[in-house]
Symmetry: C2
Subunit: 340 residues, 2 copies
Amino acid sequence: MSKPARITTVTTLKDVALAAGVSTKTVSRVVNNDRHVSDNLRQKVLRAIEDLDYRPNLVARHMRTKKTRLIGLVTDEIGTTSFSGNILRGAQEAAWQHGLLLLACHTGGNPETEAHTVDLLLERHVEGIIFATMYHREVCPPESLKNCPAVLLDCFVSDNRYPAVLPDECQGGYQATRHLLQRGRRRIAMINGKRGFPGAEGRAAGYRQALAEAGLPLDESLLVYGDWWQEQGFSQAQSLLQGPERPDAIFCGNDRIAMGVFDALRERNLQVPRDVAVIGFDNMEMIAAHSRPGLTTMALPHHEMGRLAMELLNHHIEGGSSGKGEPLRVPCPLVRREST
Amino acid sequence: MSKPARITTVTTLKDVALAAGVSTKTVSRVVNNDRHVSDNLRQKVLRAIEDLDYRPNLVARHMRTKKTRLIGLVTDEIGTTSFSGNILRGAQEAAWQHGLLLLACHTGGNPETEAHTVDLLLERHVEGIIFATMYHREVCPPESLKNCPAVLLDCFVSDNRYPAVLPDECQGGYQATRHLLQRGRRRIAMINGKRGFPGAEGRAAGYRQALAEAGLPLDESLLVYGDWWQEQGFSQAQSLLQGPERPDAIFCGNDRIAMGVFDALRERNLQVPRDVAVIGFDNMEMIAAHSRPGLTTMALPHHEMGRLAMELLNHHIEGGSSGKGEPLRVPCPLVRREST
DNA sequence: ATCCCGTTTGACATCGATGTCAAAACCAGC
DNA sequence: GCTGGTTTTGACATCGATGTCAAACGGGAT
């Protein structure tokens, strides 16, 4: 009997003001922790808020203040790998620290859907947008993206008109190769992903650089490209292994390729890492952590990238520089397991 | 010169009305496709909207109409597996069809964070909340969840006070076992996940039922429990295989267990599926599609579950029944590969 | 030309909060 | 008790849209 019949009734500032016998403005002050309120009134208001279980209506507040505290996150794909999840986690954690909430949308990579999604987000007056992809590549984001602060995540545009956060593929390739060198390997092959992909090219550049620095001549027959799949890794490894001089280590363009390499080695009764050390890339938990032996690999710092993208965006929103210019490259850490 | 200097200026209804020489209400009517507008004015207004690149401010609209068209999605974990991604995709697709937008938050499973998250969403006046978990289990959602329409997804409460959408584990276990029977197997073992988990118990129930229906006695030594990991699958399979009567098929509580079983079979030079057929559960793409041979498995219908949860919620919001009562169980489809 | 009736149209209030600004209250100090 | 300055307080306008309702309009019928 004490409660109003209509469940949809929500208590507002006005109700609280009435109950506490003060003006709405005073209630507003208390809610916003304004110091210009006497202790006496503050107590009364706080009690009324408690009694009525009042929650401020953020929609109304945002209309007045022009701050929605919403950030849009547009991704091409969500959920096929753990990548997008880690990005989301990193971004959300950073967002929370700044009192921001994330509005995540996936588009399937369709340009029309992307444009539509950005429009939707703009209509809701998000304060900024993170435009993310599932793997490192060049993109052509919708025109309307320029209508609000934006950061590219795991992708870039050639003229750097948006700030971007990318994995440092070259450092990753370099460090992977260095690691093999440090383990005493000298004849290091690389079975890479597909030509032309920033990931593949960057990783190969790092590989070349590490070999050059170590004073090892680059044997071009040891650097082969394929696609990103296990089957290709398997057959490429077969070819490499039947040459006269067997490599003593194989750096794989990703973890799936490494699984194919494992298969090929097993077929020839070669032991990992005794006969051939194997290192992957991407650190796909499902694969790398549960293969036998466990696969040493370079992790993609998706969580950190998500966090950084959000920090960059927040900085811009708070009035700092937009962060435009050379993309921010985030180092890929080595995850050591048993295969090296 | 034609554009205002301040980039932050956004065109509003008023600007359009001024430009078209009509009242704001008329513009509002055009934007909302109200038929009570003469063609003449409608054209003028549309042109002005085009010229000024006007976009309605949804924040303001929602304040007036009380409809935010926002749905909150609270999950314990996002991104460790493809599960949450598929749920998200399914939910978002359904949401879009109803003009709803998804506000996804992950909580790490911490009850305080969960309560806080729900409060945040309520402050933003979401029209409903989907409370989801990464794997099928009982939950204790925050009290405040009752303040808006809510649906549980991949989880449940014992008294069914919220509607819930769950995978039909029992049907899955049943169908997996039926499939092995149809392939001519008679001595079917099950290496299950952990006791007490709804997934493990449901799948075992389906397994029992299928065997009983086929008139096969249940050999209790063939139904073993472990945890959900590859290592346990490996050792459990070893034990099963060294018994006097080797099973001719193994139904695994999940795909990781199946990978351990593969290892154990390989060790004994047993061929899959010739000597022993293997079927998994969960259809973890990363594992099942790329193992050798490819793993036949029961898929968890996460995409469909996400979609259904959203439909249920929308139905409630649109004034239909809440959907409370027995949880909705979504069938798990068989994904046939080479291991059976 | 006038009247009637249905359709368009716009003036004004409203949603729930905060910004502005002036009035009210308070407090010293003389 | 008055004055001047600081602090509290509240009346009112405002954000950008839509709801209400009455006025203006238009087109037949008389």
